[in-house]
């Protein structure tokens, strides 16, 4: 990795002492992280480490128990969930979260429309402006779902739904992408496609990637954070983290074999 790039790019999203408790359970405890522009920041950790919780806080889905989230210099932990997306923080979900009865294209169009406006136009037909559908189609194409464009989302396979999930985030054209296990349930080819896509995207956006597919994480991440039981374990370049014995013990397991 090129360390210079990391230093040059600016911090776009930042957490300060972020905590989330569920009753007595500290799902997230005092996490302070900086996410840089044009950089892919991987987050890994054992199951239940609090990775999804972190993303849920970053996108406004949960309210933090304490701590702050700063986006482009402004604290945003008090704003409404939808406002996060309006600030350009888009996210995909670990558990597939789409519009099952709408076509793939329609799924993406909803996302595009948020940005394009006109949502309070009661009278004009939604199909009137092709630009919107063009962008939506583009997003589908990027994730390799073009051929499924007019298929109803409930009728495509699980893996394809995972692809759609990503297409929808792309369609909002966010500046920060929060991806929760985008590759889970996807086949090799599709995973490879997404990896290529992310490689491209990280030239422009800030991406936070939670993923258990180590090949992908190691290949993509500019920076890697490891979390264990709600605590921050370490953050650094891929190589450094991979060789950290604590990480091996808590997460990767000994030996070279990665399952």
């Amino acid at each position: 990795m090129n360390n210079n790039v990391i230093l040059e790019s600016q911090v776009i999203l930042e957490t300060e002492g972020l905590c989330k408790y569920w009753g007595g359970l500290k799902a997230l405890d005092d996490i302070s992280l900086k996410f840089h522009d044009r950089e892919l920041h991987g987050i890994v950790g054992p199951n239940g480490a609090g990775k999804s919780t972190l993303l849920n806080l970053l996108c406004g889905h949960y309210k933090p128990t304490s701590g702050r989230i700063v986006h482009e210099g402004a604290p945003i932990d008090a704003i409404k969930p939808y406002a996060f997306a309006r600030r350009g923080i888009g996210r995909s979900f670990q558990k597939t979260n789409i519009y099952p009865n709408a076509t793939c294209l329609e799924n993406c169009s909803v996302a595009v429309q948020r940005r394009m406006g006109g949502s309070f136009n009661f009278l004009r037909s939604r199909h009137r402006q092709e630009v919107l559908e063009e962008i939506a189609t583009e997003a589908l194409e990027k994730v390799g779902l073009l051929s499924r464009r007019n298929e109803v989302a409930a009728h495509i396979s699980y893996g394809e739904q995972r692809q759609l999930e990503i297409a929808m985030v792309l369609a909002t054209s966010p500046c920060v992408l929060l991806l929760d296990e985008p590759m889970a349930g996807m086949g090799h080819e599709e995973s490879q496609l997404i990896i290529e896509l992310l490689k491209q995207l990280k030239q422009e956006y800030c991406i936070v990637l939670v993923e258990h597919d180590m090949d992908a994480v190691f290949e993509l991440s500019d920076k890697l954070t490891v979390m264990v039981d709600g605590q921050h374990l370490t953050t650094g370049t891929v190589d450094r983290v991979r060789d950290d014995p604590r990480v091996k013990e808590a997460y990767l397991g000994q030996g070279d074999e990665v399952y």
Binding site: N47, G48, Y158, G187, H188, E189, E190, H212, M214
Partner: protein, 236 residues
């Protein structure tokens, strides 16, 4: 040798769309079988057809030589089949503990090899979350619970769809260990997963689906021999 499960030329349709085109294979007692294929090739549909969650248009499913194609799902499962669905199928209103308690039962021979305690031993993570509701678990914890819930029914045939999805590497290893153990204890498994390396080593037989048709069905040796071909089917 007699077969545990025989699947004969299944044709399954969703409404108008024809998804399975004569899928057939069989599983012998104690065998682990992998089911591979790219997204949308019909793996899940095959499993669902076996379980009666979708009704195939034609074709037969035999379990222990007995025709079960027309039986309702619950009666098939009573013949000691267990299923871990993709997406995990958590109950939003049951706690972890209740998930395991409600499912636990001895198998037909009255065996109790897997019980509540053993599952918690295998997945200590769940031990700490006993009071959480099913949907208040992290993704990986849900996967553990889904597997645990299947195991406490003490099945003869365990069907895992996307077996290790969302699991951290260490736990994934753990799961493979578990499958190895249950295989050793004579339980058969059908596994859908994308980790071809592990499957090759773990399973006795491999089936690859392309567009609802079996394009490859062979032992691990056969798989090693034709690895390139299979990898092209899988898009590796």
């Amino acid at each position: 040798m007699n077969k545990l499960l025989e699947v004969k030329s299944l044709h399954t349709l969703y409404g108008e769309s024809h998804v399975l085109h004569g899928v057939g294979f069989d599983v012998e007692p104690g065998q682990a079988v992998s089911l591979m294929g790219r997204n949308g090739m019909g793996k899940t549909t095959t499993l669902k057809s076996i379980l009666g969650l979708v009704q195939p248009r034609s074709g037969n499913v035999l379990f222990n030589g007995e025709e079960i194609t027309q039986l309702p799902t619950w009666q098939r499962m009573r013949r000691d089949i267990a299923y871990v669905p993709e997406g995990r199928g958590m109950f939003h209103n049951l706690s972890v503990k209740e998930h395991l308690q409600m499912a636990a039962r001895p198998n037909k021979r009255g065996e109790h090899n897997w019980d509540y305690d053993r599952v918690l031993e295998t997945f200590p993570r769940l031990q700490e979350r006993l009071g959480n509701l099913g949907t208040q678990l992290s993704g990986g914890e849900q996967q553990m619970l889904a597997i645990g819930r299947a195991l406490v029914t003490n099945p003869d045939l365990l069907i895992l769809d996307e077996a290790t999805e969302g699991l951290a590497p260490l736990i994934r290893k753990e799961i493979w260990e578990v499958i190895r153990t249950i295989k050793a204890s004579g339980i058969s498994t059908i596994i859908v997963d994308k980790n071809i390396k592990v499957l090759k080593e773990l399973c006795d037989k491999h089936i690859v689906l392309v567009k609802g048709q079996v394009v490859f069905s062979d032992s691990s040796e056969g798989l090693s021999a034709r690895l390139d071909e299979v990898e092209s089917y899988l898009g590796v």
